[in-house]
């Protein structure tokens, strides 16, 4: 299949919560070719006004799935040296929560509202006036708490009329804790002066409380920078500064960073992560993060710092990658209904925890991780209490009795890998038994496992299946989209061929993710045998293109052999851990990841080390920024 032209690549967000029907002849249909081009967003039409906040430069950037996958992995002597543009990244809600002083009941007012594929992609992470207003309210509450504790503050503050030198000394330490890096002299002086004024205006306790709170509404607290240091190299790049780099590495693996646990205000991470962060901080302070070799050990220590739990669990941000890559954290948000009268026993929250454990175990074992994820029948069941809940959690897995604990080998004719786990299946399906969502599942697989793009639903198309009470979903879908059912469906099929054949194999599961041989039809009085067979179409991969599969289990076996799937997985890793889409300039980084993946028999840890020690991660383009102050 040829890659779609760039003008077809649009950021896809419209819900395909129902399936397409009636796409022929609907008034005002736009063909897929007429989908709005990326970068031609209405933003550019809006005149700037004095009152309006600055409009974002490009809210709908190109979808990297439009890039040629082969070219992305071609690294040669003439390849451009990888680098990333200098950045300012607003901290994520989890990172801010870890930096927020203990003792305050309320956290920083930033919720998760991802506008891009991954939460680490901070391109649109702003601080608008509403967020800042609420942040100020909350920050005012923490100042008095900090003054009351005074933990680690200099003795000169025992004097209720401290001089400027004392306050600058205090400011240096306070900013170091708040910003998790040594402040510049200018920053310390600013805060010291502010404290002096505030104490003069409002008295010692109140003035100092205001000064103590102030760093937590500043841009230096809310954002971290990645500008690079020193003079640019011959390729116009700068290596990240030691504290920029230490922070970037820490956040690649977890939500907390260096300078943790040094004061009474912050919660220290558990061992072994705390020791790894201490070593990282010492290396940053000694400027010993200059070469990939110096960096590598710290990355390994942080990746291996798995928290002590009663089930396998990865460091927070590593696990977050898999959650977001597979999209299974949505499972609790997808409402389910009938027909088994089991709704009250439906416990989607367990799915996430169990899939977390299954993924974590595969990564900890670190042997052909992607292949294991795609084909393993060893399902992990994290401990669940109380006993009544154990009964309720078992049935979506087709298990009799109670939910087990530990590893269970699932039947070979029912499950194969994470995409056959109820956690994924229930996340990527509809609300009812008549709507397990082969279109949605197929679209997700096309975009996330094959790194290809499906054009957005044309405006005017009525994307719902016909309601035939005595037909299977497969039959209803074919009636609406297959040219074999009706020649006028040719238009629909031009897009649906990219989705339906990849989603149909999952018809062996219902919308809860339960394995089934019989499908309950619309009126719930009839059933029909499940037909999950499919011929995969339009895939730029010799293993997959044209392959006939009987069900999802066979499809997953083929996916585990597919180069397209493997390279797409590496691209997804790049997007998450570097925090931006890949470009052709990253080809040498991606090629290196691929080489390591092959050489190590599919080690996730080694690929991640390769990525976090790559030039794409370590270097910043000098063109759009001056060097940082480190």
């Amino acid at each position: 299949m040829s890659t779609p032209p760039a003008h077809l690549i649009v950021a896809l967000g419209a819900s395909l919560s129902a399936m397409t029907v009636g796409c022929n002849g609907a008034i005002g249909d736009a063909t897929p070719d007429e989908a709005p081009p990326a970068g031609d967003s209405p933003t550019s039409m809006l005149p700037p006004t004095d009152d309006a906040p600055p409009t974002p430069p490009d809210p709908l950037p190109l979808d990297p799935n439009g890039l040629d996958q082969r070219r992305l992995f071609e690294c040669g002597a003439r390849s451009a040296p990888p680098r990333t543009a200098p950045r300012v990244l607003r901290l994520t809600p989890s990172q801010l929560a870890h930096r927020w002083p203990r003792g305050s009941e309320r956290r920083p007012p930033f919720g998760s509202d991802p506008r891009y594929r991954y939460s680490t992609d901070a391109r649109d992470a702003y601080v608008d006036d509403a967020a800042l207003s609420l942040l100020i309210q909350r920050v005012l509450e923490i100042g008095p708490i900090m003054v009351a504790r005074r933990a680690g503050w200099p003795r000169c503050l025992d004097d209720p009329a401290p001089d400027l030198e004392c306050l600058k000394h205090w400011a240096r330490g306070h900013l170091t804790e708040a910003l998790r890096r040594p402040p510049s002299e200018e920053e310390a002086e600013d805060l010291g002066m502010f404290a002096l004024d505030a104490i003069g205006r409002s008295g010692f306790e109140e003035g100092l409380a205001l000064a103590a709170a102030r760093p937590f509404v500043g841009s230096s607290f809310l954002f971290r920078t990645e500008l690079g240091r020193g003079e640019p190299d011959a390729d116009g790049r700068r290596l990240l500064g030691p504290f920029e780099l230490a922070t970037a590495i820490a956040y690649a693996t977890g939500d907390d960073t260096i300078h943790t646990g040094h004061a009474a205000f912050w919660t220290a991470p558990e061992e072994p992560r705390e020791a790894a962060l201490d070593a990282l901080e010492a290396a940053a302070a000694a400027d010993a993060l200059r070469t990939p070799d110096e960096i590598e050990g710290h990355v390994r220590a942080l990746v291996d710092a798995t928290p002590p739990e009663d089930a396998p669990i990865l460091p927070a941000n590593v696990l977050r990658f898999f959650r977001e890559y597979l999209g299974y954290s949505e499972v609790s948000r997808v409402f389910k209904s009938g027909p088994y009268d089991r709704d009250r026993d439906y416990r989607p929250g367990y799915f996430e925890r169990q899939l977390d454990a299954m993924v974590s175990q595969a990564v900890i074992d670190d042997d052909d991780v992607l292949g294991t994820l795609l084909t393993s029948r060893s399902f992990w069941f994290a401990p669940v209490a109380p006993d009544a809940e154990r009964v309720r959690g078992a049935w979506p897995f087709n298990l009799e009795g109670t939910l087990p604990t530990g590893v269970v080998e699932m039947p070979a004719d029912q499950r194969s890998g994470v995409l056959t786990h109820p956690g994924w299946l229930a996340s990527h399906s509809g609300n009812q038994h008549v709507d397990p969502h082969p279109v949605h599942r197929g679209k997700w697989i096309r975009e996330n496992m094959l790194c290809e793009t499906v054009p957005d639903v044309p405006i005017g198309v009525d994307a719902r299946l016909p309601e035939f009470p005595d037909a299977t979903v497969r039959e209803r879908l074919a009636a609406a989209t297959s040219p074999e059912a009706a020649p006028e469906n040719e238009y629909c099929w031009s897009c649906h061929r990219l989705m339906d054949p990849l989603g149909i194999p999952f018809e062996m599961f219902d919308h809860y993710g339960r394995f089934r041989r019989e499908e309950v039809l619309g009126d719930e009085t009839l059933t029909a045998p499940v037909d999950a067979s499919s011929t995969l179409l339009a895939i730029d991969d010799p293993v997959l293109d044209g392959a006939h599969v009987e069900d999802a289990l066979e499809m997953m076996a083929l996916f585990a052999e597919s180069e397209r799937v493997e390279l797409c997985f590496l691209r997804q890793m790049f997007r998450f851990f570097v925090g931006r889409p890949e470009t052709y300039e990253d080809a040498c980084t991606l090629a290196r990841m691929r080489d390591v993946h092959l050489a190590t028999g599919g080690s996730f840890r080694e690929v991640l080390v390769a990525l976090l020690t790559s030039d794409s991660f370590l270097y910043r383009d000098s063109e759009f920024a001056t060097a940082g102050g480190e």
Binding site: A11, L12, G13, A14, S15, S17, A18, G28, A30, E34, P36, S41, P42, T43, D51, A52, P53, P54, T55, P56, D58, P59, L60, A85, V88, E105, R106, P109, D113, R115, D124, Y126, V127, D128, D129, A130, A131, L132, L134, I136, Q137, D190, F194, V217, G218, S219, S220, L222, F223, T225, F335, S337, Q432, P458, I459, G460, V461, A463, R464, F624
Partner: protein, 482 residues
């Protein structure tokens, strides 16, 4: 001569030190003294999910629709309140209507009411199903949770060049965790309303937070409000330094931060200029603010919205009830403690032996009661030779088309204009049903938004960014404009 001197005095007062105390009142007196019309206000209520056609279509309008269909085709099926039955060729106007259960509490305002049906908003749906989210009020396609265009509330506020402390204010209700309720400073989410493409605006969903936002300057402990200003002093310099080190798109993030600082300082000074009016109008926080029931908290938000208008804090208010897909999880526990979440009701899940449709009609009934209560409050506030309600347009609509899994081809709205708002009214109320999609005289929600713009004094015929291929007509709806 005497009149001229009075006008000059009042203008001077408004601009001088006294203006800080008497700001909004004097502003209204100046407008009155100069013969200027009072500012128009917009209250836009948005029901999350759907305002189902059968819940709002009056029986007289349905009978009229049936008669027109049978006149054209004696064998036509009996009409139902669904777009497929809107086969007439010109907008069908019915005057003198009976209000259905969902709208009953608005009976006192029936003479000013127009129920509008048959408008499509396909661009918001993008394929159908669930909410149109930001697309509903912007008539532009977005991507996921990124708005594709400015929504009508912000568009009008911007075109009015509002100098209010809040050019546009959005409050509402949704499900909140127990520990979020009543948490001063918490409870906002981003959906439904957008300042511009790519820039969603917040909806304040916790009354405690809304109260502090609007009336914190005159709260019992107002010192926190005043410390906010001090805290912001000098923050610009650090952000400027960081911004100046950057080029390209990344500067934008810090520019938004700097803009936020400026707008907060500006808002702070505008709020302080309204101190007397704030004291006069601030509602007393009650335990409804911290109620576990979303509809009870929504009622508190209506009170706060009325107070904000009365104080002159804003002229444009959006009130959202469980909007966007994140509103699906709201549970109307004040109707019944064990009631399913809204999504379940929308799937017509029964509860207590009654179908979901029954419960959602009851929710609409309560929404209508809140709207009626808000209008009554505005009627009690003198303005010019009438009341604040005379200069206020209340609009009720939804963010999800005609049903839960919608085609977005029949988007119902209810217009309730005040006496000085130039929209048509009729004794006994009106219903206007537009012909179905495909008919020459079919019209779209963008036309209704143009109409609202005109009614608010904003000349706008091309609101929204609908694809030219699917735009049926530009301009407002003449059947509605006076």
């Amino acid at each position: 001569m005497a009149k001229h001197r009075r006008r000059t005095f009042l203008k001077g007062l408004a601009l001088g030190a006294g203006g800080a105390v008497l700001g909004p009142l004097v502003g209204r007196l100046v407008a009155s003294a100069e013969g200027l019309p009072a500012p128009r206000r917009l209250v836009l209520f948005v029901e999350g999910d759907t305002l189902h056609p059968r819940r709002v279509m009056p029986p007289e309008a349905l009978a009229n629709l049936d008669a027109v269909r049978r006149a054209a085709d004696p064998g036509a099926r009996t009409a139902e309140p669904r777009a497929r039955f809107y086969t007439h060729d010109v907008p069908l106007v019915t005057e003198g209507i009976t209000l259905n259960r969902a709208l009953e509490p608005l009976a006192a305002y029936r003479d000013r009411m127009t129920i509008v049906q048959g408008l499509s908003n396909k661009i918001a749906g993008r394929g159908g199903g669930h909410t149109g989210d930001f697309g509903s009020l912007s008539c532009s396609p977005g991507a996921g949770r990124t708005p594709g265009g400015q929504t009508i509330d912000w568009h009008i506020a911007e075109r009015l060049a509002s100098e209010r402390a809040f050019p546009c204010l959005a409050v509402g209700t949704k499900d909140l965790d127990v520990d979020e309720i009543g948490s001063s400073g918490g409870g906002r989410f981003y959906a439904t309303t957008a300042r511009a493409a790519g820039l969603p605006a917040p909806i304040y969903v916790d009354p405690t937070s809304t109260h502090e936002l609007l009336f914190g300057a005159v709260a019992a402990d107002a010192s926190a409000f005043h410390r906010r200003g001090e805290l912001m002093d000098g923050l610009r310099e650090g952000a400027n330094r960081a911004r100046d080190a950057l080029g390209g798109d990344e500067r934008h993030k810090l520019e938004v931060y700097l803009h936020s600082l400026e707008s907060l300082r500006d808002r702070q000074s505008k709020i302080l200029s309204l101190e007397e009016a704030l004291r006069r109008n601030q509602p007393t926080a009650t335990d409804t603010y911290t109620s576990p029931h979303p509809l009870v908290r929504l009622e508190a938000q209506f009170d706060l919205a009325a107070a904000a208008l009365a104080t002159g804090l804003t002229d444009v208010i959006l009130i959202a009830s469980g909007t966007s897909d994140r509103g699906f999880s709201v549970r109307y526990t004040s109707l019944s403690e064990e009631i399913p979440v809204k999504h379940g009701l929308a799937h017509n899940g029964s509860h207590d032996g009654l179908p979901g449709d029954y419960w959602l009609t009851e929710v609409h009934h309560r929404h209508s009661a809140m709207l009626a209560g808000l209008i009554a409050k505005l009627e009690a506030i003198p303005e010019g030779d009438g009341t604040l309600a005379d200069n206020t347009l209340v609009v009720s609509t939804c963010d999800g088309g005609e049903t839960h899994h919608a085609s977005f081809d029949d988007w119902a709205s209810v217009l309730l204009p005040g006496r000085n708002i130039p929209l048509q009214t009729a004794a006994g109320g009106r219903s206007v049903i537009y012909p179905q999609l495909g008919k020459d005289n079919h019209r779209q929600m963008s036309n209704l938004f143009n109409t609202i713009c005109h009614a608010m004094g904003v000349e706008e015929d091309r609101f929204g960014h609908e694809d030219a291929d699917i735009r049926v007509a530009e301009g407002p709806l003449p059947e509605l404009l006076a």
